[in-house]
Amino acid sequence: MKKLIIIPAYNEAESIEATVRGIQSKMHGFDYVVINDCSTDETPDICRKNNFNMVSLPVNLGIGGAVQTGYIYARDNGYEIAVQMDGDGQHDVEFVQRMAEHLEKNKLDMVIGSRFITHEGFQSSRLRRVGISYFTWLIRMCTGKTITDPTSGYRMAGRRVIELFAQDYPKDYPEPETAVKILRRGMNVEEIPVVMRERQGGVSSISMTKSVYYMIKVTLAILIERLR
């Protein structure tokens, strides 16, 4: 089974080499592709020099468009599993392997890694958890299914989901919205427990002002998805 790791990169010159080397050495059975989202630093040069497998966007598309390029690449090259991994050290290699096993064994369309099954590791702030449980409730209202961690970045796609994402993927904050999209198409989604670490460097892309936009945008996106 061909498995792909999608690494979106925007101005990651300092970390991209370590990220890719880490994935090459630890992720057995996985191929990878770096999606350079028109970085203005040396990210593409470093990838070319090291002969990393890279798709380089000529125009900056933002995270959604970059990740979608990864899914198009996965679709066109016959991958049956694809997972997005960012370079910020939040994703643990061990869990990705475990998710792949779970997906293959149970013939699922998507596996989500959830922090809130065993409640181990980094649990996010109280305010964020309120937001997360709100989305869990909203998704249950729309689909009847329970996703305990709808904002989790651990999301592994099977072939059908790869094809869906290659065709249609949100421009930003895709996690809860795509969960609804997939569930409403009757695909099989399961969660397995993961332990998340607090990010090692940088800040979350979702700041205080942006969380208001996040809540409204994702809520609307889910409700519109419900109407389709």
Partner: protein, 133 residues
């Protein structure tokens, strides 16, 4: 209501606007498709300016007391409609650009990979040739 002087000034402004739009279409810096709405606006205002009393008739027909109120209201509605369709056109274009960007990037990768393959093959065959010599 409108003085003759004002009518002449308005007609002159509309004529200048008309010439500018036609010229831009001619130089292809404005799509005829998008110019049509502005040409239609000019034609409408021109009719109001030329026909005396028409503005008053329309105002009365819609049920607004003052002609100026109606002019402002109509202008406002027109601008909102145009802006709305601009955002729709913008969304469509950004989706097209996204698809194009992705296709270009994936093709560029294929070309780059082929080039690497060819250069590796060239190196191998030139080494072969050296060995044979």
């Amino acid at each position: 209501m409108m003085t003759l002087k004002f009518r002449l000034i308005m007609a002159a402004i509309l004529l200048i606007g008309f010439v500018i739009i036609i010229n831009m279409v001619r130089k292809k810096s404005l799509d005829l498709r998008y110019a049509l709405i502005w040409l239609a606006l000019i034609a409408m205002i021109l009719v109001i300016v030329i026909v005396p009393g028409l503005l008053g008739v329309i105002t009365h027909f819609i049920g607004i007391y003052d002609a100026m109120n109606m002019v402002f209201f109509m202008g406002f509605v027109f601008l909102i409609v145009v802006t709305f369709f601009l955002t729709a056109a913008l969304s469509r274009n950004s989706n097209r650009i996204k698809a194009l960007t992705q296709q270009v990037a994936l093709l560029e990768k294929q070309v780059r990979d082929e080039a690497v393959k060819v250069s590796l093959k060239d190196e191998a065959s030139s080494e072969d040739a050296e060995r044979r010599i």
